[in-house]
Symmetry: C2
Subunit: 227 residues, 2 copies
């Protein structure tokens, strides 16, 4: 489903070059759920944003369902993202002047359904993440973990084939976090392919595979893997 070949990414920052990814190759089959772990700064968010068509690699390629993501034009890449990907960002990226419900309705804009139907779909996903009474609030009227759950609802509302999630339980208490992981597991059993960055080793038991990043590369050090 997803094929990454020799991905590198260098960020230029004041005359200095940061090698965020130093050659990453990885294949993910349809229906897999992969946890990505690794130290702060090891390149996890960079990997996810490249996979999500949001960040062109310095070299290497990404294919999703046979589509060479960075061979597409900017507009075609936006269409591709809308059709294939749900994305939970590390800092949520909610639109501050839209309510929770309106934020979750955003991915439904190109779908041929009535506004009322879209509100019902978005509303039911918000219920699934435990935000039933809070749909009409603005992001700054919600707690950190509530904002995170709005971001999760938005990522899954149009049932994309692939979910890319950057620490989706980082702001949640254990109980609420487990509920979200159980939800992801159910969606995965229904066919959703999941790639999820997480710092919480407890989350890996909901996933079919765990990979570890270290200094911009996939870590194949057995000792590290067993830690």
């Amino acid at each position: 489903m997803i094929a990454m070949k020799n991905l590198t990414k260098a960020y230029k920052s004041m005359g200095d070059e940061v090698q965020a990814l130093r050659g990453v190759s990885l294949n993910i089959d349809k229906g897999e759920s992969v946890a990505v772990m690794g130290q702060s700064g090891s390149g996890k968010s960079t990997l996810l944003s490249i996979l999500g068509g949001l960040n062109p690699p310095t070299s290497g390629s990404v294919e999703v369902d046979g589509i060479d993501v960075y061979a597409l034009s900017q507009e075609k890449r936006a269409d591709f993202r809308r059709e294939y990907l749900g994305f939970v960002f590390q800092q949520f990226q909610l639109i501050p002047y839209l309510t929770a419900l309106e934020n979750v309705m955003l991915p439904l804009t190109t779908i041929k359904k009535s506004n009322r139907e879209k509100r019902e779909i978005a509303g039911s996903v918000l219920c699934r993440v435990g935000l039933a009474g809070k749909m009409n609030r603005l992001p700054n009227q919600l707690s950190g973990g509530e904002q995170e759950r709005v971001a999760i609802a938005r990522a899954i509302v149009n049932e994309p084939p692939v979910l890319l999630a950057d620490e989706p339980t980082g702001s949640l208490d254990t109980k609420t976090g487990d509920e979200i992981m159980a939800l992801f597991q159910r969606l995965n059993q229904d066919g959703l392919t999941v790639l999820m960055v997480t710092h919480n080793p407890e989350n890996t038991r909901y996933m079919s595979r765990t990979i570890i990043m270290k200094d911009g590369q996939l870590c194949t050090d057995k000792a590290e893997l067993l830690q």
Copy 2:
């Protein structure tokens, strides 16, 4: 050191009223380090922001070192915050157009030292949190966990007597998170009073006491406390 009496907080949100805190009383002695846990939405950030002089309670009072925080004028309250508190926000709140170093220098503005001395102080704190090579970057040129560590550095740079931290290791991998907790523990041993919201039970072993919030109140349910 810190005395909270009967704190309540109601947020008005479209004709609806949200009871975020329903009567919280708590005393914290100088030199204690208290972990605050509880479900998403239970009122932890609200409690911290009220304690930090940033959010007037609907009723009740907060005394820090004998000072009635909300009896002060807005300006005196700003002085009080600068002098007494280090605050790590749940969403970091870094100034986007200032570098990591400049962000960390902000609490030093009222201190009578040369600019060069202030840069050295801020620089050494950034080293302590592992960001030695990254001081001149802007926040958007840093990873999530690196931004979090800039926020932590900024909160401790002028050695305040009280540190209020809202999930300061939420975006960090286990190893980096443990380094930060060990740093807080050392600062606590040197006299820093700490109140820290955390979702990670692992962090409580670095703290002298753990309290649990539930639906806007302190939970005294033995079953919950032993979970």
